[in-house]
Structures are given as C-alpha cells and as structure tokens.
Amino acid sequence: MSATTTEPATAEPPRLDAFLRFVVRARQANMFLVLVLALFVGLVFGGIMIIVTQPTLLTSWSHFFSHPGGTIASSFNTVWFAYEELFQGAVVNFHSLRLLIDDPSKVTLATALIPLSGTLTYATPLIVAGLGLAIGFRSSLFNIGGQGQVILGGVLALLVGFSFHLTPVLQVPLEMIAAIGGGALLAGFAGVLKAYTGAHEVIVTMMSNYTMIAVLGYLLIQPLFARPGVLDGASKAVGVSGQLPYFFSHLNAALLLNVGFIIALVAVFAVQWFFTRSKTGFELLMVGQNPDAARVAGIYSKRSIIICLALAGGLLGLAGMLELTGVDHFVTPNFGGSYGFDAITVALLGRNKPWGVFFAAIFFGAMFTGGEAMQAFTPTNIQFSLADVIQAVVVFCVATPALLVEVFHLRGGSRLMNSTYAGGWV
C-alpha cells in the first residue's frame, strides 16, 4: 500500500527494540515460515503418535506424577531415536560419515551416500508425476487419474522395452515417447470429455484409474506380457538396452541413482519454462486463475483444457516409464500403486511451483526411505507408515495455511490463503 499524495504519511511506527522488531518480523507469514511450522507440527504429531502407541511409554505415563522427569525423558528418547533413524535412513548415516572422515576414499563415500541415493531414486518418478499434477492444479484442473496414467505409460514403455533391442540412446527415448503418448492419450480423453460434455475430470480420471488397474490385470495374464513360469503376475523385463543406466553402481551396487534423475531435472526446467515463458503456459495460468477474464481475452477454454490435461498426463506417463526402467524393470499387478495419489500431495506441498514440487518430491522420497530404515532399526519397531502420517500432516498444514496462520497468530496470512477456486462438477 502506498500512501496517497493528498494525505500526509501516517504516523511513524512506535520505536521497538531489536528483539520486538524481530518477533514482529518473524510473525509475518511467508511460505518458508509456514513450511517450517508445518514440519514442526508434523513431527510433534508424529511424536505424540509414537508415545500413544507404545505400551511401555503409556505405562510410564501412568507413573507420571511420581517420576515426571523419567517419563518425559523416556518418551523423548524414544521419539528422538525414531526421528534420528528416520534422518539417517533418508540422508546420511552418521556411522558411515565417521568412517568417511577416517578414510576419505571413493568407496566409503559411496557407502555414506546410499541413503541419499535411495531418497533421490524414490523421488525421481515422483518429481515428474508431481509436475504433471501441478500443471493441472495451476489451471484449476484436478487430475486424480495419476495412477491410471502412470500404469498406461509404464505398460507402453514396457512394450517398447522388451520388443526392441536397440542401443540405449535410441531405445530410452522411444520408451519415453511411448509412455508420454500413452499418458497424454488417457488424460487427454478426460480433457475432451470435460471440454465437450462437461464431465468433471475428477470423476473421469478417477474411474480411468480403476479401469487401468483392471486392464493391467488383464494384460499381465496375456502371453504377450506375462513372464513365462512366474506365478506372481510379474511381467517380462525390459531389455538391458532399454534400462536407464545407473550413475554409480560400479562403486556400490546399492547406489541405484540413475539417468532418470537427470530427465526429471530437465522436466522441472521445462515446466518452469512452460509457465514463465511460453504462450500456452500463460494461457493455462490465465484460465486457471480467472476463467471469465481468459474467455474475454479470447482464450479458447476447450482447447486449453485438453492441452493442459494431455500435458499433465504425458508427464505422469513419463513418471511411469521412469519408475519402470529405473529400478525394477518389470511390471507387477500393483504397479504405480500410490504414485497417483502421492503426486497429488507432492504438488500440493510444492505449492504447484516446479522447484517446489522438486523439493517436495525429495522430501517424500526421504520420508519413504527413512521410514523403512526407522522400521528396521528402532528397537520398538515403529512402523514406516508413521512417515506417511507425518507427511499427511505436513501437507495438510501447507495446503491449507489458514490453520497455521490461525494457530500461531501469524500476521498477513491472508496473502497465503488465496487458494484456487474449487468449482463444482460441471
């Protein structure tokens, strides 16, 4: 707000000492503060969940009034230990870090980086899938059909992967084209229905999820896809030439980081460029933020709906291909299981911005790998789904900042709350 010329400047703000000024500034709501607070709330909630579900801790709480210190200490210890394992499983193991300091060689470095590599490997398809969802969200389209598009992309990539045996330089792009085409086709179909019949994309894409699961189940028992002699429903594997090469597997076989991460990075840049520099991207943003203004400005909303959903679906198909050719190289009946829905939360956590999605996906990857480590190494056997709970709380706080703004009495929070308009079903 700038002061008008006719009115004299308002009275000077009262002078505050440095501490108070810091407090006031710290309470100005911005996205960084909201993220930190969301993480804090998530961890606190997770901690409460740990305490409530541990019988030994509950017994110690029944003695709270006789030994308050011991009760708090044991609860805090358990929670702290779980989160320590979570961190070590996701980022870097302190023990291997010490070994690295003692003996700085390539091999120990590789060992120390195993958790980080796992995080990034898990995050790779999620980055691309989250970008796809973010494109939809930014133009107010809710593509819930991520799972179906991931499945179709993965299946088409698999078809290319085991049918041809070219060089990787040729075959990987071929797989990418097949996967992107498949995802774009499926989501574009929802877009066409939305544009011409008014069918809401949430329902159509949701139903395409279940349809694709059924189709996948059907394909996996067909001789074209089924791996001979295997009863668990796994498909044939992608040929060696169709697999994404690993970066560091020569140092340690557990380092699964592959070329897919580079592809995901390229996708982040591409989407960034698309929204900030391209005409179509600008049109999509405009349709999303104010459909009326977009229509008046001459933007053909039907076309932009179809383009937007097709682009989103293409990215989700690409995510399916990265998932397929990155680690497992074959498809199982529950392929692409939670990617569709995780991608939604990734996009929400990243506030639909390309780099936000990038870091949100890495956060999700960290929570996944860390959660598995936590389950494996805590003596109290805390299940890895605790990481999902923490994630859900964090996403809840970030997607609807109003709650944090209210609870922590942040100032100027209304800026953060202009979330997109939901709209009905038509």
Partner: protein, 502 residues
C-alpha cells in the same frame, strides 16, 4: 462451465429432447434384443441353467394345489387392476378416491397383487417343490429368444411411439433383463446360478455405497464438495471395529460402535466444514488431504497397534434381521428382508433423507443455500450455519457407512479395505442426480456389478469376455454417465463455491 451462456429451455425444446432420447433408447433396446438372440439364443439347445431362488431353508415357498393357483392368479390380477383403474370404473369410485388420497396405498396394493401373480406363475414354471432349496431350471437358448424378442418388441414400440416419461425406466429394465440373460448364459451346464446369493451380496455391497453417496448428496446440496468420503469411510471402519472389539461385541456395544463410527466421520466432516466455510479453502484440496491423512493413520494404527493387539480388531458382525412374512418371499425375501441391520439403516436413511430434503423447511434451506447462497442470506438464512450442519451430518452418515466395511460382514479391519469405494460413492451421487432415491438406485446398480464381478469366479471357465472387463464395468458406466451419455446432469449451482458474506 457455469459462466457460459445456457440455451433457453422451453417446453417445446424439452419435448424434442425427450422424444429424441426415447428414439435412441428404443434403438438401444432393439440392439440389445438382437444381441440377446444371437448370443444367448445361439447357445446349445440342450443346455439348461438351474437358478437358485433362495438359500435360506427356513423360508419355504408354500406349494399349493392347481385350483388354488388359479384363484391366486385371478385374485392378484384383480387387485392390480383395481389399484390402477379404480377411478375409471363407476361402481368402484370410492375405492378410487381412497387410492388417490392415501399416499403409497396404490403402490402397496400393486406389490401385493404382483406377489399373488408371481407365486403361481413360478410354481407352474417348475420351482422345485420338494427340495428345501427352491430352484428353477430354464432352457438357455429359449430364454435368450424370449428375452431378445421381448426386448426388440418393446424397443420398437418405444422408438415408434416416442414415450416421453417411461423411456429411461424401460431402458433400465431392458438392461437388467440383458444382465439376467447373461447370468443364465454364463451359468449354463452343470453349475447352479446362485442368483439369490449374487443379489444379496449386491445389496450388502451397496449399503456403504448408499450411505456414502447419501453423504455426498447432503453436502453438495448445501454447496460443499465432500471428496473426503473415502477418508470418512476409513475412519468409520476403523473406529467401529475397535469400539466393538473393546466391548466384546455385545448388542449395546455394536449400536454404540455405529454411533462412534458416525462421530468419527462427523469429526472429519467438521474439519472439512471449518476449512471450507471459515477459511474459504479449496474444498477438493481439503478433501484430498483428509483422505491422505486418514489413509496414513489407518495404515499406521493397523500395523503399529492392531497387529500386536489382535483383541482390538476382532470379527464382530451386526445382527441379521429376518423380517417376518416378507423374508419368505422367494428371491426378494432373502435379498431385501434377510440382511444385517445396517442394510435396513441405509434404506431408512435414504427414505428419511429424501423426505427431509424435499419436504421439510430444513431441506428447503439446504437446497437454497446450495443453489443461490446470496438469495438465501437475503431472506435471513444463515448460510454458513446451514452448510456446517449439512456437512457434519453428511460426515456422520459416511462414517456409519464406513462401519459397513467391518461390522457389516463381521470382518476385522485391514488396511486398504475401503478400496476407493468413497470415490465411487461420489460418482454414484452424480449418477443419482443429487437425489437420495437416485443414489439408492445407482448404488444398487453398482453393487450388482461389483457383486457380479466378485461372483463370476465360479463360472470362469465358461466366461468368454475377460473377468477384468466385468470389474471395470461400473467405472466405464460412470464415465458414460458423467459425460452425459445417459441424460443431462445439473449439479447444485453453488456447488464448491466458497461463500463470502456481503
């Protein structure tokens, strides 16, 4: 797009639309009949199918002598005729006025008459008179011809006469006949067609679909999109079984378990309401996040707590009520009147909700708030309060529906047992045109396809089309429905739009 200009709907354009629709439906019916003749009629003429009409030995279909059958038939036909035509017959004018004045009397009379007609007809058709399991054996190819020719005749009449009103009802009956023919064809040969079992499980499955779509209907009629039904299902399922197990599944504890499940659902409805109504957050995002939270919490609690404390996750089923007299009707009795309590609760909830939405002051307010909130506020309705009430009540209903996953079949909670039915309930709500009775019918249809795909394992060797296709059928139907292939849909005008006081 709500912003685009709508064409003006006059009586004339409406009539043109319905006549066109009637023509299309008639052609569809004729095509169905042709498929029935070619497909089912082409079966080997020696093949027979035995249909099971009941699995409950306590309900014996009374066998009566030939003479009494004729008497029953005539009596039934007479009752139906009187109920439908009493006004036109001069000597029965008082009876006609009675049927006009008392709501529902005519329907009951027709049902009683139909019962009296079907009873002897089924006996003549050869229901097994001596066995405890009542069965009927039909010729597959002959059934195909009968169904097909009937379907073609009805379709031709419909395309020729262009009925306005009855078109969709006839199309749905034609589809049901087609499905029945398909079942008879699939079960040809040695295996019995367990028709009662399939239909009963269809009704059981449609219980939580009914409650879920009812919840969605209530919320959206008030203008709030409740996509969190899946989360409320999960919460209700988990809460109800833990509560029932903790109190060892006595009758009282089961009742309270249902209430407890409802309260958990209502809690998440309340959160949705706060975020949507107080802060004006995007309702779809809030709903998706609530589902994510409930999914994660249920996985955590079931792996962390319930796996080690099995006594908190027992198998306690709701009691099964067999309604006297009604449960003895073959096919209909075991399917509709011999079910667990939740099925009756669901049916009652649909009827009550329909009455409340369309016949009470509260319902009028809910609907007006969902259509034009500014106008409602102008006449003194507190928009936010009405929406709070509707969303929390909707959450309660969805939570009770969630109890149907665990307490209904009496199975313990497992992670992922809701299997996306909350989202299907949303589609059913749209299919049912945001009306409780529509939701009821659509739920039964979806429940039937779900039960069908689950039961087709029995006949897998005789199935030509892949089973996965049947599994995908409800979803494909949904896509067809929301894209307007089965008529135009019109949601509440203010659905999903945050309300700001002016």
């Amino acid at each position: 797009m709500s912003t685009e200009a709508r064409e003006v709907v006059t009586l004339e354009t409406l009539r043109v639309v319905t006549r066109k629709r009637s023509l299309a439906y008639g052609i569809t019916l004729m095509a169905l009949g042709l498929v029935e003749i070619l497909w089912y009629g082409g079966a080997d003429s020696k093949l027979h199918t035995t249909i099971q009409f009941g699995y409950n030995t306590a309900t014996i279909w009374p066998v009566v002598a030939e003479l009494w059958r004729v008497v029953l038939l005539i009596a039934g036909l007479a009752i139906i005729t009187v109920a439908l035509r009493a006004k036109e017959i001069a000597s029965l004018e008082r009876l006609g006025r009675f049927f006009e004045s008392v709501r529902g009397a005519r329907g009951i009379a027709v049902i009683i008459g139909a019962y009296l007609v079907i009873w002897p007809v089924l006996l003549w058709l050869g229901i097994n008179q001596h066995g405890q399991l009542r069965t009927m054996t039909v010729d597959v190819a002959f059934t195909g011809y009968v169904f097909g020719i009937a379907s073609i005749v009805v379709g031709a009449i419909m395309a020729w006469k262009r009925f306005d009103r009855r078109a969709s009802g006839m199309l749905y009956s034609g589809l049901l006949v087609f499905l029945l023919g398909f079942l008879i064809w699939v079960a040809r040969g040695s295996l019995d067609l367990q028709l009662t079992g399939i239909l009963a499980s269809a009704v059981a499955v449609s219980t939580f679909l009914m409650l879920g779509s009812l919840s969605g209907t209530l919320c959206e009629r008030s203008g709030v999109v409740n996509i969190a039904i899946e989360g409320q299902f999960i919460a209700g399922a988990l809460a109800s079984i833990v509560f029932a197990s903790a109190f060892h599944g006595s009758g009282v504890s089961l009742t309270f378990a249902l209430v407890f499940a409802g309260l958990f659902g209502a809690f998440f409805g309340w959160i949705l309401a706060i975020m949507a109504l107080r802060y004006g957050a995007n309702q779809i995002i809030v709903g998706v996040v609530i589902v994510a939270f409930c999914t994660a919490m249920s996985q955590f609690l079931s792996t962390q707590v319930l796996n080690t404390h099995q006594n908190l996750n027992g198998s306690y089923g709701l009691p099964v009520w067999a309604i006297p007299w009604l449960s003895h009707i073959p096919l209909v009795g075991p399917v509709l009147f011999d079910q667990n309590v939740l099925v009756f609760i669901a049916f009652a909830a649909v009827i009550i909700a329909n009455f409340a939405l369309f016949r009470t002051r509260w319902g009028l307010r809910v609907r007006s708030v969902g259509e034009k909130p500014i106008a409602s506020e102008t006449v003194g309705i507190n928009v936010v309060h009405v929406r709070y009430g509707a969303v929390i009540l909707g959450g309660f209903i969805a939570g009770v529906g969630g109890a149907g996953f665990t307490l209904g079949p009496g199975s313990p909670f497992t992670y992922g047992m809701t299997a996306g039915y909350g989202y299907i309930a949303l589609a059913i709500m749209i299919f049912g045109r945001w009306r409780p009775y529509g939701a009821l019918m659509a739920s039964l249809l979806f429940g039937f396809t779900i039960a069908l795909s689950a039961n087709l394992n029995l006949y897998l060797s005789q199935l030509v089309i892949p089973q996965q296709f049947i599994t995908a059928l409800p979803y494909l139907i949904t896509i067809a429905v929301v894209s307007g292939l089965v008529g135009r849909i019109r949601p509440p005008a203010a659905d999903g739009v945050p309300f700001q006081r002016h």
